[in-house]
Symmetry: C2
Subunit: 297 residues, 2 copies
């Protein structure tokens, strides 16, 4: 099963990579430098966890690979834009990402800012100009969900809370609030958008799926915190130990590594439970869940 | 007619202001500081030229005020986000906007960055969650147009060219290319979105309207350049003479003030011509055109 999962994930990652290649503006179209920076940021890196979640969720609703590829690419563009802006000097001021210099190191701050802005626009453009659902009304629902997940009551809002938390002592509920927004919202959107690409899911099934997505979104961040505390910069492909260095509260700083791992395991159990009603159709989602939790543990 | 136009414009501006008040997240919802910054940026200022264009174009297709208000607000949010990011130190590094300290002066760079990002997300959210057209398919077309207008082949792309032009000698066609993207694309989107809120326009009429929108978008920038060269900081509400100071090519620096004004007048004639087939229904659009060209001349 593991080998099978790896093949499946590889083929989906390749598919997303190939699509992003085509969907991003070519480097030889003006403004060339901006387009270069967008491609530099998005292509050739990343585990594409969010698209994988979209593909796995799409299996529940028999979504076509073509549709999920576009939806997954849109979510990945939002994720990529957030990384570019997050790495800027006025935010985390990071120089290394996915083993390469960050976008502003390579292209300067102004172009990095505009590249992030343009990636966000492109994400919504993709969901509006391709057929990604049975009917346009569902596409509007998908755009709404992605916009909410990205905005001030989603990812960007989580970043704002994150900023305010530097040097602060957060309680576990406060830390959870931050991560539900900062990381969880977009993970949740990835799962739901994948499911919306297909059809036939009942309202109660969508609710269960949403519950699954919330748990897995939080688990993702808990694991990220553990990895950041344990891994070396080389393994991580980004500057390790930044959180401790920046005096940011994390699951590890609040709970310790052991309890943080236990929390991730608990969230996995919850996530599995939410999938029970889907039977074998949810096997891929279970595998992606394991992939997320066990990443480098 | 002028008094009538002023009443009309005032009532539409009030309507947009009241809607933005409601559509923006309240300041007492977390993350409060981010929401504060978003409201600070958007509310209580600006001539709302883009929403006015949307309202005037909506008269051609008998669009309801409710729909155009949402569409106009969405365009205005994109405009507002671009101002916040444009004022950042890594871009124009400006401290004054609409007579107030710029967002990053008031809230810090990180929050200003996130406020801009969140305003962009909110614009697309509005167009997806409200009924702004007869059918969802048209709403998708509106979202696509706004996303294209905002992105790397629209406004953000124009900003990138603008950055690259500092200290450079541009030809008139190069300057035009820059402004068609930087300012023109969003003006064009405002006009087309306003028209899409209603119904009944033929393909040929939409094409004429689009031609009108392109001319007026360029005229807007030509007038802006003249104003920047002539006006004082107090009149303008933003730092005057920045273009010359930053050694940026403008219509005034290339053509001189006299010819730049002539160019604006020529563009107005073109714009009027494109509206000929619409008869009296286009009177508001003609008035807004005059308003844009004659602003402070």
């Amino acid at each position: 099963m593991i080998a099978d999962f790896q093949d499946w994930a590889r083929s989906r990652q390749d598919r997303i990579e190939a699509s992003l290649q085509l969907l991003l503006p070519p480097s030889n179209v003006p403004p060339e430098r901006l387009h270069d920076a967008m491609r530099y940021t998005v292509l050739g890196g990343g585990k594409r966890v969010r698209p994988l979640l979209a593909f796995a969720a799409g299996e529940l609703s028999d979504a076509s690979a073509e549709r999920v590829t576009i939806a997954g690419a849109a979510v990945e563009l939002i994720h990529a834009y957030s990384l570019v802006h997050d790495d800027l000097p006025c935010m985390d001021n990071d120089v290394l990402r996915r083993g390469k210099p960050t976008c502003h190191i390579e292209y300067g701050e102004a172009i990095a800012l505009l590249a992030g802005d343009s990636l966000q626009s492109l994400a919504f453009q993709l969901l509006a100009e391709h057929t990604v659902a049975d009917i346009p009304q569902i596409q509007l629902e998908m755009i709404k969900r992605l916009a909410q997940a990205a905005g001030s009551r989603g990812m960007a809002g989580g970043q704002a809370v994150d900023l305010a938390s530097v040097g602060a002592t957060l309680s576990l509920p406060e830390l959870e609030f931050m991560h539900i927004h900062k990381t969880g919202a977009l993970i949740r959107a990835a799962v739901m958008l994948g499911a919306y690409c297909g059809s036939g899911l009942k309202e109660s099934e969508l609710m269960n799926l949403d519950h699954f997505a919330k748990r897995i979104g939080l688990a993702f961040q808990v694991v990220d915190d553990v990895l950041d505390a344990e891994a070396s910069t080389a393994t991580l492909g980004k500057t390790a130990g930044k959180d401790a260095e920046n005096n940011k509260p994390t699951y590890v700083s609040i709970l310790g590594r052991g309890q943080a791992r236990d929390l991730a395991e608990g969230l996995r159990r919850d996530a599995y439970q939410a999938l029970e009603g889907f039977g074998e159709k949810a096997d891929r989602l279970r595998q992606v869940t394991d992939f997320i939790i066990q990443r480098e543990f």
